[in-house]
């Protein structure tokens, strides 16, 4: 498959979606169903990979691109991922000049509050997926308490939680050994 075509297909998916995995149906339809250059298993794997490595979920197009065409495919995926981000510059120029207008201010404020609510909604499936036993629930509760009560960098909370999880998971093994 030509890299330019792959880029345009992935761009079509990213530029018409507004969040993480929302572009997935387009990618699946084009690459799995119509062109047969990617399998469903590979597509699922690319989602799992981005979920378990750092970076935004939208990165799955990089992984999918790699499955389709190796390194050049991954590059096409990366380019398709970053291209729409540039669209914020005209938006910024438009809104920035009017930022002091009370109606524009109110519109932006309402969007921020609404996205806080949407974020809470997004946390529900994430929690169902991630909080599967006493240990993960404990980690989540302790993390939230630390976030609300201290000024600890969330980077350390992520690393700390990973370390605690490793220690607890391997504790029984150590005792046996």
């Amino acid at each position: 498959m030509k890299i330019l075509v792959l880029y345009l297909i992935l761009l079509k998916a990213t530029v018409t979606s507004f969040a993480g995995l929302a572009s997935l149906p387009v990618v699946r339809d084009e690459l799995v169903i119509q062109r047969h250059v990617l399998t469903d298993t590979q597509l699922n794997e690319s989602v799992v990979i981005t979920r378990s490595s750092p970076g935004p979920v939208g990165l799955y197009v990089v992984s999918a691109g790699y499955f389709v065409a190796g390194l050049p495919g991954a590059f096409a995926g990366w380019l398709a991922m970053v291209t729409p981000a540039l669209l914020i510059i005209p938006l910024l120029l438009f809104a920035g000049r009017r930022a002091e207008h009370p109606r524009v201010k109110a519109a932006l404020q309402t969007v921020v509050i609404a996205s806080a609510a949407l974020l809470l909604a997004a946390a529900i499936p994430l929690a169902k997926d991630a909080l599967v036993d006493y240990m993960t629930i404990g980690i989540a509760v302790a993390s939230l308490a630390l976030l609300l009560k201290t000024r600890l960098d969330s980077l350390w909370i992520i690393f700390g939680s990973a370390a605690v999880s490793v220690v607890i998971s391997f504790l029984p093994l150590l005792k046996m050994g």
């Binding site: 990213t14 530029v15 018409t16 507004f18 969040a19 993480g20 794997e45 990979i49 979920r51 378990s52 970076g55 935004p56 990165l59 990089v62 790699y66 991954a74 995926g77 990366w78 991922m81 729409p84 981000a85 669209l87 510059i89 938006l91 910024l92 930022a99 109606r103 519109a107 932006l108 404020q109 309402t110 969007v111 921020v112 509050i113 609404a114 996205s115 806080a116 609510a117 949407l118 974020l119 809470l120 997004a122 994430l126 929690a127 240990m135 993960t136 980690i139 989540a140 939230l144 960098d153 969330s154 980077l155 909370i157 992520i158 690393f159 700390g160 939680s161 999880s165 490793v166 998971s169």
Partner: protein, 180 residues
């Protein structure tokens, strides 16, 4: 004003460590850009955030591009976008290559397990970080109302996120808060 090198440093260091949604990264960047380094005022940060939610594609990357633009115009935007997207893309390629080995590595699995649990709390905490600056006396009812309606439209009525946000933008534009 920060240099391009400083912009590259901050977005490389803090823009690439997202687990479970970009919201946690926004919180980290808020801490770093507003509270610690004071590179730009809160209002500009909030404007970038609101606009990034209305930009197609990965919101976090649009957000970083916007912050870069406000700091150093076009060069800043490009540097921030590259810094926030190249390192994690390289990691994803490496992980894709090594995926079969990763799946059977129980230490990596346990670490991911813990990190994802923490990501849930970071996401919940970010909701509050976002709403808090607007939640002041006289506006509380308004904030709660907007949040409840947005949540209901998305969860109960099943409206896609971007439609909810567009409705929010229109509602805010038509019904600005009264000056007291």
């Amino acid at each position: 004003m920060p240099s391009l090198k400083q912009i590259a440093h901050v977005f490389t260091r803090y823009g690439n460590l997202t687990f479970g949604g970009g919201s946690a990264t926004i919180a980290v960047l808020h801490q770093e850009l507003i509270e610690r380094r004071k590179w730009l005022p809160e209002e500009q940060f909030v404007m970038s955030f609101a606009l990034s939610r209305l930009t197609p594609g990965t919101n976090l990357l649009a957000f970083c591009t916007s912050i870069g633009w406000q700091l150093q115009r076009f060069a800043g935007a490009i540097v921030a976008l590259l810094a926030a997207s190249v390192p994690c893309a390289v990691i994803v390629v490496l992980v894709t290559v090594a995926f079969s080995q990763m799946q059977s590595n129980s230490i990596a699995q346990a670490a991911i397990h813990g990190a994802v649990a923490a990501a849930v709390s970071i996401t919940v905490n970010t909701c509050w970080t976002l709403a808090k600056p607007h939640y002041k006396s006289g506006s509380r009812l308004r904030v709660v109302l907007i949040a409840v309606v947005a949540f209901a439209l998305h969860v109960a009525a099943g409206l896609p996120a971007v439609q909810v946000l567009l409705i929010a933008a229109v509602a805010g534009f038509l019904l600005p808060e009264k000056k007291r």
